[in-house]
């Protein structure tokens, strides 16, 4: 998976799953905090994103990402760093 749109869709799906929302309920640019994204959810998010997408994320950068889109960008840059 290298296409940014695919990555974003995958991240979106994972985050929705953790928050118990449908993809329609959570916009990709909406702040996650408004949807109950707390520290526990973020820990789970980190674990799932890493295991399902095969990346290791920097925890500080991950916490700085407040939307699905930001997270997807982070994942994409890790993925491309791995393949370079």
């Amino acid at each position: 998976m290298s296409n940014p749109d695919d990555i974003e869709a995958a991240v979106h799906k994972i985050i929705c799953e953790i928050l118990g929302k449908t993809p329609d309920e959570l916009g990709r640019q909406e702040p996650l905090a408004a949807h109950g994204w707390d520290s526990l959810a973020s820990l789970e998010g980190l674990a799932v994103l890493e295991s399902e997408l095969g990346v290791t994320l920097d925890l500080r950068a991950f916490h700085a990402a407040h939307t699905v889109r930001h997270m997807a960008e982070l994942v994409a840059s890790e993925l491309s760093a791995n393949t370079r």
């Binding site: 799953e17 526990l40 820990l43 789970e44 674990a47």
Partner: protein, 612 residues
């Protein structure tokens, strides 16, 4: 998306519990991520959809962040057939919760699952230069936990599950001298040994060996980022392992242990096909792969020594099999190791059903192991309640495949467990014997049944509690008094708890039943009575009723009161009170002990033993 998750979603939408096959898949999940998602989904499903499963109240008490432990526990428990009702203690409330024995959730839980991490035992500030001080601090913390836990079990009837804790490498490696590093490891092993020893001194405490089990975990047990950021000392893989260990405790405690192991022969108990290569040509013993098959035989034999009944289920001609079992020099499981041998060309599901019939057990206590995908698929389809174990693939994994899911785990082994395979062999003989009599009464007279009723003692209490947990058919009220509750009644002047043992001319069945009775104001109330289905149809239950009425009469009681609470499985006991001469409305039955008729069957001799 894992198809298992779709199946769970469909079941939740339809308002029903996941079916047996889906539950088996949940229980056997290796992947922690899927297990966590499944658990989350199960916990979110309407509680009512799981109503057919057995309720289990669980409290989680943790010294750190609970993280995914809760959903992972859900997956395992639903997989084992429970409807979990889970309460979680607040972050940081570990000591307080144990000290007050006031657990989250409604009422006293059945199970308290603890989640412990190394930081609990480590002083906040420590120096490797002051080893004694470090050791004293760890010891002091352990003493505190031991004190909390032993005081706690006095105030709850829950089973408390503790676990051993791995020593983090960052602690070990801070000690630079190899001598001190060895000392710190030794100190930590002693800590874990003391946690394990707690289980030996308190029947309500069970300690599972997480630190030991982690050695076989292919994934990392720790993620430093999650630990530093979220006080989450274990990865999901490690928590999944712990949840599995806790699930196995719940299974054993609630009496869901399997009793029978049905084994295929060709390419399961030995390598090769007997019909093609003859007895001398099968792979058994010696070098790989023969040693793998021999080790499986040894393991099955070790299970048999602990009460697991072995059944042979093989498509073969019986004579060569019998000869191979008796003559092959490397054979561990000889003919007599099997309580039932079903060696023929009939479909295996039917053979298992017949074997269950002749053992007087239900197929839901069976585990079936076979290398053939077809045979496993056929049994799984015909008898979904049977636990199916694959012997396909590399034979090196055979023992692991058989043991890893803990199908046969029990809380404690009783004398009856150890004697069970022998008991069931005589039982098979008994059913042959029964065919030579004209009437069942004639048969029962010839059996020379002896029933012994005795107050429960320290020696018999484990077996009585086990019967309470395991008995589903002849279980009058479904109230499962465990060892702790039974012990309290044993020592209470207002209660009587007795065990019922049966022997006949073929052998001693041991303790097969129990009664829990409360006395108040001249009324003897039977809180519950259970009787193993192994002895049903012989009038043992009537002998127990006759005994009870007589004792009540001697004690001057004015009324004996019994109850019947219907469940899905106890229909066999519905007319018990009426047959025993009690009158009632279907739920509550009474008899006046002074006026009651004697219902003691003529073919039974009763023996009484007073408390010793």
């Amino acid at each position: 998306m894992n198809p298992l998750l779709d199946t769970l979603r469909a079941a939740a939408l339809a308002g029903r519990a996941p079916d047996v096959a889906t539950r088996r898949a949940l229980l056997e999940l290796d992947d922690a991520a899927t297990a966590r998602q499944a658990g989350r989904r199960l916990a979110a499903a309407p509680a009512d959809s799981l109503r057919d499963l057995r309720d289990l109240r669980v409290a989680i008490v943790a010294t750190c962040t609970i993280g995914s432990f809760e959903p992972l526990l859900w997956t395992g428990l639903v997989g084992a057939g429970f409807r979990p009702v889970v309460g979680k203690s607040d972050y940081g409330a570990f000591d307080m919760t144990l000290a007050a024995a006031d657990f989250p959730g409604d009422g006293d839980p059945d199970l308290v699952a603890t989640l412990l991490d190394a930081a609990y035992f480590l002083p906040r500030e420590w120096s490797p230069a002051a080893f004694e001080e470090f050791g004293d601090a760890v010891q002091a913390r352990l003493r505190q936990l031991t004190g909390l836990v032993t005081a706690c079990v006095e105030r709850t009837s829950a089973t408390l599950v503790l676990h051993t804790v791995p020593l983090p490498a960052e602690v070990r490696d801070t000690f630079l001298s190899l001598a001190d590093r060895a000392r710190v490891s030794a100190l930590w092993h002693r800590l874990n040994a003391e946690l394990l020893d707690l289980a030996a001194t308190h029947p309500q405490i069970v300690t599972v060996d997480l630190a030991g089990a982690l050695a076989d975990l292919p994934a990392a047990a720790r993620d430093a980022r999650l630990h530093r950021y979220g006080d989450l000392p274990y990865t999901d893989d490690a928590l999944h392992l712990l949840a599995t260990l806790v699930r196995r405790v719940a299974q054993a405690k609630q009496g869901l242990s399997r009793k029978v192991l049905a084994l295929d022969l060709d390419n399961t108990l030995w390598g090769g096909v007997l019909g093609e290569v003859d007895a001398h040509g099968v792979q058994l013993g010696g070098l790989y792969p023969g040693n793998a098959y021999k080790e499986l035989q040894r393991t099955a034999h070790r299970l048999r020594d602990q009460g697991v009944i072995l059944v042979l289920a093989s498509k073969n001609d019986p004579e060569p099999v019998e000869k191979a079992l008796s003559d092959h020099p490397e054979m561990v499981l000889r003919n007599e190791a099997f309580s039932v041998r079903a060696v023929n060309w009939a479909p295996k599901a039917g053979n298992l059903r017949k074997a269950a019939g002749s053992l007087g057990l239900s197929t839901d206590s069976f585990v079936f192991m076979d290398d053939s995908d077809f045979e496993r698929g056929h049994v799984a389809a015909e008898l979904p309640e049977v636990a199916v174990v694959s012997a396909a693939g590399d034979p090196a994994y055979l023992v692991d495949s058989l043991l890893r899911h803990g199908w046969f785990d029990v809380m404690t082994l009783t004398e009856t467990d150890r004697k069970r395979p022998e008991l069931y062999r005589t039982r098979a003989m008994r059913s042959d014997f029964s065919e030579s009599f004209g009437s069942s009464e004639e048969f029962l007279q010839a059996l020379e049944l002896k029933v012994e009723i005795a107050p429960v003692t320290d020696f018999t209490i484990a077996r009585v509690a086990q019967l309470a947990a395991r008995t589903n058919q002849f279980n009058l009220t479904g109230v499962r008094f465990d060892q702790a509750a039974t012990a309290r009644m044993k020592d209470s002047p207002d209660h009587t708890v007795v065990s019922v043992s049966v022997a006949d001319r073929f052998g001693d069945e041991g303790i097969v039943g129990a009664l829990w009775v409360e006395h108040a104001d001249g009324v003897w109330q039977v809180l519950n009575m259970v009787l193993s289905c192994r002895v049903l149809g012989r009038g043992v239950e009537l002998a127990a009723a006759a005994w009870l009425l007589q004792r009540a009469r001697e004690a001057g009681a004015r009324l004996v009161e019994g109850r019947f609470t219907p469940s899905q499985k106890n229909g066999v006991a519905a007319d018990f009170w009426s047959r025993a001469g009690f009158t009632g409305d279907g739920a509550v039955f009474t008899a006046d002990p002074a006026a009651a008729a004697d219902v003691m069957p003529t073919w039974i001799t009763i023996r009484e033993r007073s408390a010793s």
